[in-house]
């Protein structure tokens, strides 16, 4: 039977979770999150001009990396980290020493649930990550491990233990995550529907993963969370999280890990300029017609048993099958390999990320 978690998750993961935030302006939004974020360590990845100083509100424990730091730490391998795009956030995943990551955009604020109560998004993500996923058979009552829910009639008992959850994908109230064409057609549409559900995305199904409100188990899936080559000098933008999501889901499916989507909601306050977005996404809108069938048909050989091995294998298939779409994919495939090399360098000891002792945060 499904048992709800009885331990208080927030206190448990205080020293095991890093919050990664990419930013180019300021971090005033953290004031609203203070009650929920202050106990945690922040990794701030500063995009754009490194000579600018990012103001972090007092009382937060953080480390900050700008482009100079990225270049210094990675050397020539820094070429795999995007410049002038929030995709640079994946550098934060790489340098983190914690087991779990929560990443959030700096225009995302605390939302309220239908009863008017503030939503502790981080706590919900932690609950999602600490309870199993059920990717092999769809439960019509959604997350069976939640209070008040369970598996429905017909759900085989042998599948009720579930699998470990690697990713928790949250949603957004107010400005929804639409692409540029939809934004242009529906500039005033706001997401006001609070869907009180968390569900596992079934095995074999890929999905559009948004990086605005995302948590994952870095030990289980970290190396797959490469946000690609975007922004300055690249032909495409706003597909960083999509790319990471497709790779991550394929690898999770292969390794028997789960991906959840649904709660928690955050309040997305800023709609980016749809014309700027259109320029960034333009190629992506055509390319995704090829990318989706590609990812849907990727098969990984049995001897790929680690995330890194799976990821390298995917990069080979990207080179083989997608370079005819555009030469960009050759570069991207190379960058994927560079990313794994850099990851392994910064996270040594064996196939998975090292389990480092829980020291005091900086």
């Amino acid at each position: 039977m499904a048992q709800p978690s009885t331990i208080s998750p927030a206190t448990l993961l205080k020293d095991e979770l890093d919050i990664v935030i990419p930013t180019i302006r300021n971090l005033d939004f953290l004031e609203m999150w203070r009650p929920f974020f202050q106990p945690y360590h922040l990794i701030i990845v500063q995009d754009g001009d490194p000579s600018k100083t990012i103001r972090v509100p007092d009382g937060f424990d953080y480390e900050l990396y700008n482009r100079n730091d990225i270049n210094r730490i990675l050397g020539p391998k820094s070429s795999c980290i995007s410049f002038k795009d929030s995709a640079c956030r994946c550098f934060g995943y790489m340098v983190s020493k914690k087991k779990y990551i929560y990443t959030i955009d700096d225009d995302c604020f605390v939302a309220k649930d239908p009863s008017g109560k503030d939503i502790n998004a981080l706590e919900q993500h932690i609950k999602n990550l600490l309870s199993p996923s059920t990717p092999f058979f769809f439960n019509t009552l959604y997350d069976p491990y939640r209070d008040g829910a369970d598996f429905v009639r017909g759900y085989p008992f042998s599948l009720r233990e579930g699998v470990p959850t690697a990713v928790s994908h949250g949603l957004w109230l107010n400005i929804p995550d639409y692409d540029a064409p939809t934004q242009l057609v529906k500039p005033l549409e706001r997401n006001s529907r609070y869907v009180d559900a968390i569900m596992t995305i079934p095995k074999g199904t890929i999905f559009p993963m948004c990086g605005m409100n995302l948590a994952f188990n870095r030990e289980l899936i970290g190396p797959a969370m490469y946000f690609g080559l975007m922004g300055d000098g690249q032909p495409i933008g706003r597909y960083d999280d999509m790319w990471a999501g497709w790779c991550t889901k394929v690898i999770c499916d292969h390794l028997g890990l789960g991906v959840k989507t649904g709660l928690p909601y955050i309040w997305h306050s800023k709609a980016s300029n749809p014309f700027v977005n259109l320029k960034k996404e333009y190629k992506g809108i055509y390319w995704q017609e090829e990318l989706i069938p590609f990812f849907q048909s990727v098969t990984l050989p049995k001897d790929c048993t680690t995330v890194q091995q799976c990821y390298i294998e995917i990069s080979k298939q990207v080179k083989a099958k997608l370079s005819k779409v555009d030469d960009y994919f050759n570069k991207l495939a190379d960058a994927m390999v560079t990313w794994i090399e850099a990851w392994d360098e910064l996270n040594p000891s064996g196939a998975k990320s090292a389990e480092l002792p829980k020291g005091a945060s900086k």
Binding site: F138, F157, S158, Y178, I206
Partner: protein
């Protein structure tokens, strides 16, 4: 000589004409309120606002009138106007004989449609059905006549509704268990499950890529960034599975363990179950496009100890897995989520548990089987697909348990029955 009307009478008549300007009736004496109410009714001017006005007076006579005349507030939402009422059949399998309160509760939603009520052939008592519906009732003698007494065994217990699916002449079927009542959404509005199912069936499904904002065709929603444009037209939705508040559809062990648990979470979403993903489709609250997928709903898996409570059956789960496999193969969609119905407390799960575990054990074989079924390219019709599944079941499961061999045979018989008995409108395109 006609008596000229009294001043009071003229005043009341004038009030009826000016109801839209009246905001408060509570200062009126009781007998005048009653008279006004009756004249309002006679004039055909009773709408929801006016009804609320009378209710607000708090007068007992008004309430007794409302009860006596069975007046009810109108229900939102309204059916999409592109669907004609005569395209829909509501099929109810009567496992209990007294349907009075069930039908009366559903009256606002059911009364405009044709209903097919099928009586469980094992039920001895006469059916009690209230007046005022356009319906056909089928009982064992009809089944014997239409399908022969040897095959009428298909239709015992909850499976009796399949007879209704067979003899229906409509495009869409909506079916709820006879222990389910209309639910209320979190705002307190009564859920029109019929209208909602029809909306699900008449808007596209999106099985090939998961939309994180769920149904992109719902009001206020759309496809998210990263959703390929070529997949945004979607496919035809063949099946709509609703959910249940109060008593959720758990199996007997789960319900027995969590005896007090009731489902109070209203999840405001409809979503397409992705292609290639299987799902346990409960028969408690479903709707489907009979013309497109009718033969795939098969009354096949009959447990040895099958009983008259849902947790003593698995027929709908088998049927649903079959439908999903067929839909995946033919590029049709299956949606799950809204609408909710209110499932009343009934039965004792512990008693059911003591009776038998069979259904729960069988699922360990059933699910892997359906997950492994591969339909050949040449199977292009629903009937062909069902036959393929039946043959695969016989081959792979037949020796595991005789119940599966029987189910496989029942599926083949069902397809033949469907071909000879069922009406499919000639205007519907071949699948």
């Amino acid at each position: 000589m006609r008596t000229s009307p009294s001043l009071l009478s003229l005043t009341i008549d004038s009030a009826v004409l000016n109801l839209s300007n009246i905001a408060d009736l509570s200062s009126l004496p009781d007998h005048i309120v009653v008279d006004l109410f009756l004249r309002t009714l006679r004039a055909g001017k009773l709408n929801e606002r006016v009804l609320k006005l009378f209710i607000a007076t708090g007068k007992d006579e008004v309430f007794s009138l409302i009860r006596a005349l069975n007046i009810r507030a109108t229900v939102i939402p309204v059916l999409p106007t592109t669907i004609k009422d005569d395209e829909i059949d509501i099929v109810i399998g009567a496992v209990r004989s007294d349907l009075t309160s069930f039908m009366n509760e559903w009256r606002p939603m059911f009364s405009r449609f044709h209903l097919i009520i099928v009586k469980d052939p094992d039920l001895k008592e006469e059916l009690k059905i209230p007046e005022g519906f356009n319906l056909d009732v089928y009982e064992k003698p009809h089944m014997d006549q239409v399908v022969g007494s040897s095959t009428s065994v298909f239709f015992s217990g909850y499976a009796c509704r399949y007879f209704g699916y067979l003899v229906s002449r409509k495009k869409y079927i909506i079916s709820v268990d006879d222990d389910c009542l209309p639910a209320r959404d979190p705002k307190g509005f009564v859920v029109d499950a019929v209208a909602h199912h029809i909306t699900n069936l008449t808007t596209p499904a999106t099985p090939f890529f998961f939309n994180t904002l769920y149904d992109p065709f719902a009001e206020g929603s759309d496809f998210v960034r990263g959703y390929p444009f070529s997949l945004r037209t979607g496919v035809k939705c063949a099946l709509s599975c609703g959910l249940w508040l109060n008593l959720a559809d758990h199996d007997a062990p789960t319900q027995a363990l969590k005896a007090k648990q009731r489902n109070s979470r209203y999840v405001d979403a409809v979503m397409t179950v992705p292609a290639g993903s299987l799902v346990p489709i409960s028969g408690i609250n479903i709707a489907f496009d009979r013309e497109v997928v009718g033969p795939a709903l098969v009354p096949a898996l009959k447990l040895a100890g099958e009983g008259k409570f849902r947790w003593e059956t698995m027929e709908d789960i088998w049927s649903g897995l079959c439908v999903k496999v067929v839909c995946d193969h033919l590029g049709l969609g299956v949606k799950t989520g809204l609408p909710y119905v209110w499932r009343t407390d009934r039965g004792d799960p512990i008693a059911s548990l003591k009776k038998e575990w069979e259904g729960v054990k069988l699922m360990e074989e059933v699910v892997p089987f359906f997950q492994s079924v591969r339909l050949p390219r040449e199977a292009t019709t629903v009937e062909d697909c069902v036959v393929e599944v039946a043959n695969a079941a016989k081959e792979r499961l037949g020796l595991t348990d005789p119940v599966f061999a029987r189910a496989a045979k029942a599926m083949l018989d069902w397809v033949n029955l469907w071909k000879s008995v069922a009406y499919i409108s000639s205007s519907s395109p071949a699948v």
